[in-house]
Amino acid sequence: GAFRSKVPEEILVELEDRLILADAGPSTAAAVIEEIRGRKPASPEDVQAALKEILRSRFLMNGLPQFSPVPPTVWFLLGTNGSGKTTTAAKLAARYKSEGKRAALVAADTFRAAAIEQLQIWAGRAGVPVFAMQEGAHPSAVIFDALSDKEIRGADLVIVDTAGRLHTKTSLIEELAKMSKSCDKCAPSSLAERLLVLDGTAGQNALAQAKAFHDALHLTGLIVTKLDASAKAGFLVSIGEQLPNVPVKWAGTGETLDALSPFDADAFVEGLIG
């Protein structure tokens, strides 16, 4: 009959390997393969189509950027050390400026050496204003003062760059919560996005980061960076499954201001299994 020639188990085994090599993780890879098996695919084409559909179904939530009802809209960028927050903040500001919006940056990383200078140089290149205080200032104070500043208040979109932090450091996570409150105090209902910036070269720890940051701060979305490296960021499949309300909104693909695009789930799935 139609199913006399079964798909060789080898194809499925090879696919499971490829998913693991793409950082999907062993249990997600096994679950995806099991789901394909359950559909009794009759040909390699069936397997391919099933795989695409199953992976794509992990990214069903619409990842559109959110804006507050009245300007300024404030977006927080947060995440692990070195994941690409500062560069991404500048990229986002440049992108919206090129779309005719008034974008501004806030240098709320007052901790790391030359973090403020780094963002100031990017702001200059992007042609957007940047609010900064002295190194060592309280980040909540920086946010409060930034949103009291006339030029920043006049912007359509204010992107706040924060210091890198490990999700395992409770006091640093609490600091983010305080910064969030500070924003609410100064500009109520303006904080429209809390975006976790994930390093695309990370392994399974990315899932732990996403869960921990989401538990603590209720994220509105994810940004994945460094997709121009050989990394496939397969952990996004597990995150998509476990945190369906935290869509991937942006993808960073390089070190220049224009290397940012809206996350394309179809392209991502193609790249994952390609």
Binding site: A22, G84, L166, T201, K226, A229
Partner: protein, 289 residues
């Protein structure tokens, strides 16, 4: 985690007189899953589990009074072996000793450069810090501030990487500074052209140690990264950063298995004193959980 899962597995078979091949197969499956979840590369995981399986099928395990303990010991000892087997303290024999730090974007090179300077200063060895990174905004300012914090000299340069390296070595010789630490720009191994700069530096000055700085949470690509840097430039040692996170750090196994270059240090925090010699047995304990 893994040790607990193995414990639960072996509990089920405690009634039997000896381990069967099937028991070992089940236990090896647990090890495989644990290593992959810890981000150990698939190929390295396979090599590791095969080695464990062969050892576990040996008579002294199968007939052991406590097969579970014997099995866990095999896993532990194999992990230590796959991580280098011993502590490798960094040995500097030249004068000046030139260290070149390289790695992916954001892996922690600049911070680690300053940490190394602080480490050597604690051994009464001063360093000269230089950055070869001319692309990242405020890279020079970042290293300059960290150098000040570490209490070591920073050499301001505007020239290209090999010229800056030459100037630094000449300055270290003139000032009798025993260590020169070269911080380079982050780069990905995808485009081989980016390594030309590092080769030029290696050819311009006598680099004693080419050190790959890798983020402990790096996934399967750790092998690609290590291979790229090793093939294109050469790697003499590895430093793993951000070990203070809850990542298992399987990249350490993958990188050591591929390069056999010693893992010299782990970074365990942002502060400059958070650099510790790498201990394979402690890391093995971390993976076993």
């Amino acid at each position: 985690q893994l040790s607990r899962r193995l414990g639960m597995l072996f509990k089920k078979i405690r009634g039997q007189a000896r381990l069967s091949e099937a028991n070992v197969a089940d236990a090896v499956k647990e090890v495989r899953t644990a290593l992959l979840e810890a981000d150990v590369h698939l190929s390295v995981t396979r090599a590791f589990t095969e080695e464990v399986r062969m050892k576990a099928l040996g008579a002294d395990v199968l007939y052991s009074i406590r097969p579970a303990d014997a099995f866990v010991k095999i896993v532990h000892d194999s992990l230590v072996k796959f991580l280098g087997g011993a502590v490798f303290p960094i040995r500097l024999d030249r004068r000046p000793s030139v260290l070149l730090l390289m790695g992916l974007q954001g892996s922690g090179k600049t911070t680690t450069a300053a940490k190394l300077a602080a480490f050597f200063l604690a051994q009464q060895k001063s360093s000269l810090l230089v950055t070869l990174d001319r692309s990242r905004p405020a890279a020079s300012e970042q290293l300059e501030k960290l150098a000040k914090k570490a209490g070591v000299r920073f050499l301001k340069t505007q020239a290209d990487a090999p010229s800056s390296a030459k100037t630094a070595v000449a300055e270290a010789e003139r000032q009798n500074v025993p260590v020169v630490i070269l911080d380079s720009a982050g780069r990905t191994e995808v485009d081989p052209a980016v390594f030309a700069e590092l080769r030029a530096v290696r050819d311009a000055v006598p680099v004693e140690k080419k050190i790959l700085v890798i983020d402990a949470m790096t996934g399967q690509v750790a092998v690609n990264v290590a291979k790229g840097f090793a093939d294109e430039v050469g790697v003499d040692g590895v430093i793993l950063t951000k070990f203070d996170s809850d990542t298992r750090g399987g990249a350490a196994l993958s990188v050591y298995h591929l390069l056999r270059a010693p893992i010299l240090f782990v970074g365990e925090g942002e502060a400059l004193n958070r650099l510790a010699p790498f201990h394979p047995d402690r890391m093995a304990g971390r993976i076993l959980g």
